[in-house]
Symmetry: C2
Subunit: 450 residues, 2 copies
């Protein structure tokens, strides 16, 4: 049997590795458009900041034992009926047949349709090549002092930190107010304070109207007569699923344009599977498909797609939307639904914020965590959690306790029953995740505030 | 209604606080033998190390709004029939009647029955008064240079670090080989290396036979002609439940001498409840009672005892034995069953060790974690996990992910389905807890090694 995989990032390589792990006999080929199989795209900001000096170290792996990795093979079309794929290399076009096909074509960055958005000096950051291009630009123009970042989501803020770390004067232009609309506004404001503490300028509630040339440099316009000079502009306004191949091949797509798959990662075409940022993702809380592009999900789905392609019957158990970001000395993490998302999904949400020390205050270095729990007022069910706190205060793995609780449909109050670890350097006898659960329950008991 | 609580540590105070939270009308009195209500006993080593300079800051809380806290009231007897308690204060004996009684009498340290074990200069460390006594001894004898610690469990090793931190030359005498038998030997040896790296001497597989006076100092003997000179000796050889009052009152005790309670924390006597280190604890993995004295459990059980005393119907959901300890720069955590414990409980355990970076290796500061997963070979069920790694690598909250998984009877393989957080400074797209799960599954699939 021959399995072809289109896309050499998280989903595609995870599928290939899983196939190799389960079955040494099947022939597995991965076709990727560039030369970077299984690169850590999440690491690009750290390469550009200088914290990861060698771009080569961003490779998740460099050995692909028993997997035929076809670099610089851009797939041009898929024929699901004939089980055939056409790919272009630098100098020729080839046809490859398959028994099973796995699509892991990922996502592509969205450049807003604005005048000047494609000028030299305006970059997106989505691939290893993008990162090398930006790095070249910075190295060949050491006089570059100012950067404007358009967009204040994960990539935008991580790049703000990265370029500030590299010594540039950074301005972030955020359409949302406050920045980082993926968390509650109270925490978005805390992130703004952290940015300002590190001399990053922020313009919130601000829409870019154009990018112009300005005396060998650039100017990012955001209103009549208003604009920010920039030697470098990063556009980080989001991504969309890369589904041109799937669409042309007649595969069913969902409302958000992502490939429709079932929980075994089967597409609408027989013998064609898909995983990662290009597919609709089963949301475990919403109990419906959503588009939630995350590396963790890509790895999980790729692994399942590989298993399904071999005839296995494992299902993707769903995402609960767990995410974490480090911003200078601050860590922001979330899992599950925000209040507004829960409301839209038909729950009766109550969100309560509480504070707790990350470990016993008498032990040196205790720092405060802020926790926001969202639960259903009627049923007491845990719906989501957000934590903001300092780096090295176990914020990331604390959100994972909630993520595991959400996975099991726990009640907020039930979190108090979990036997969590404690010693004074790490926690309190009630961990902050439990203190927050108790604060939520106390408020729920008081009834609905008017 | 009047509720009396005997014991002012974690269990007793948690019960009192819960009663106060749920019902402002009930009269609540806490009787405690000493003057330290709700002190953090786990913090004693950090006071003695000097890291927590003020002993007063070890108080979990100092406000007991609406709770009648009776310090220096040593309860002498309980009459469950007449619903009456006799207590002695410094100068008199009083009788108190109750409608409901909650016992949180805790545990007492065990001094092995050895010649010289009660000599001046030989200490146990279990109460605030013990800690103040040891501190006085060190302050009034600044010439004290050497300490011997008998016992290599939690208290023993934490005290080794504490006294080494304070500048003493420390020797730990451990009956087990290696130290810290509560984890697998491979990890016990790693802890020995950490102790030795910090100039703590260790004698393993070594039984103390006597303590002798030696020229104004002490000598801890451990064999014919063998002994260690010490200015200070700490005995940390374990504890037993403090159940004299319960026994005298005719309450049923379990095999290990702890008070028998149901999962609502009811004792065998009507209107008498008990919680914390003095009771048998429901073990969620073993599905039977065990004696597992832990502060986290005391808080949970105390809270439930308080609720039951008010007529509530919440049950204690059980312990899975989650524990964590910091030893210099090393963190050791466990949850669930060790291989030998699982075997004794009738499982068919397989334990697999794996290693993983705490976060992406390309991001500065990545350190290696060692994870040992124990699962059932037949069913694939997760039975337990141990993690050892450096401080500040989120070891404690990673064990909590397993603890939460154990709480929900997950399979080892199921851990891969949990939507855990990822960004390069915190983890990998598969968290180390998942990499370890995959390593376990790969070994399970290979079948039973001969």
């Amino acid at each position: 049997m021959r399995i072809l995989i289109v896309g050499g990032s998280d989903a595609g390589i995870s599928a290939a590795l899983r196939i190799r792990e389960l079955d040494r006999a099947t022939e597995v080929s991965v076709l990727l458009a560039d030369d970077f199989p299984n690169w850590s795209i999440c690491g690009l900001p750290y390469y550009l900041s200088g914290e990861t000096p060698r771009w080569q170290s961003l490779a998740h792996r460099t050995e692909f034992d028993g997997i035929d990795v076809l670099r610089s093979h851009r797939v041009e079309s898929i024929d699901p009926t004939l089980h055939r794929v056409t790919a272009a290399t630098k100098d020729r076009r080839i046809e490859l047949s398959y028994d099973r096909l796995i699509l892991g074509t990922g996502a592509v960055p969205v450049r807003p349709d604005l005048p000047g958005i494609n000028l030299p000096g305006v970059y997106v950051l989505h691939t290893m090549n993008d990162a090398l291009t930006v790095n070249d630009a910075l190295e060949t123009r050491p006089e570059a002092r100012t950067a404007v970042i358009i967009g204040a989501g994960y990539i935008g803020l991580e790049m703000a930190e990265a370029l500030a770390h590299r010594g540039l004067k950074v301005t972030v232009i955020s359409r949302s107010n406050p920045v980082f609309p993926t968390v509650d506004a109270a925490f978005g404001r805390a992130m703004e304070e952290e940015l300002e503490r590190h001399d990053v300028r922020i313009l919130v509630g601000c829409s870019v109207t154009a990018v112009e040339r300005l005396q060998g440099s650039l100017r990012v316009c955001h209103g009549i007569g208003l604009g920010e000079a920039a030697d470098l502009v990063i556009v980080a306004t989001g991504t969309r699923p890369d589904t041109r191949l799937a669409r042309d091949a007649g595969l069913a797509l969902g409302q958000n344009g992502a490939i429709t798959v079932d929980r075994a990662m089967r597409t609408s075409a027989s013998d064609v599977f898909a995983a990662g940022d290009c597919v609709q993702t089963w949301h475990r809380m919403l109990e419906r498909d959503a588009w939630l592009p995350l590396g963790t999900t890509s790895h999980k789905q790729g692994r399942i797609a590989g298993e399904t392609a071999l005839g296995g019957n494992r299902l993707f158990e769903g995402s609960v939307g767990t995410q974490v970001v480090k911003l200078f000395d601050l860590v922001m993490a979330r899992t599950g639904l925000l209040d507004r998302e829960a409301l839209a999904a038909g729950f009766d949400p109550l969100t309560v914020e509480s504070q707790a020390w990350d470990h016993k205050a008498y032990y040196p270095g205790a720092r405060e965590l802020r926790v926001r729990i969202t639960g259903d007022r009627q049923t007491g069910r845990l719906l989501g959690a957000q934590i903001i706190g300092p780096w090295k205060a176990e914020v990331a793995k604390r959100i994972d306790i909630y993520a595991t609780a959400l996975f099991h449909t726990m009640s907020v109050d039930g979190v108090n029953d979990i036997d969590l670890s404690y010693a004074p350097p790490f926690s309190s006898p009630w961990d902050p995740v439990q203190i927050a659960a108790q604060a939520w329950s106390a408020r729920q008991t008081l009834g609905t505030p008017s």
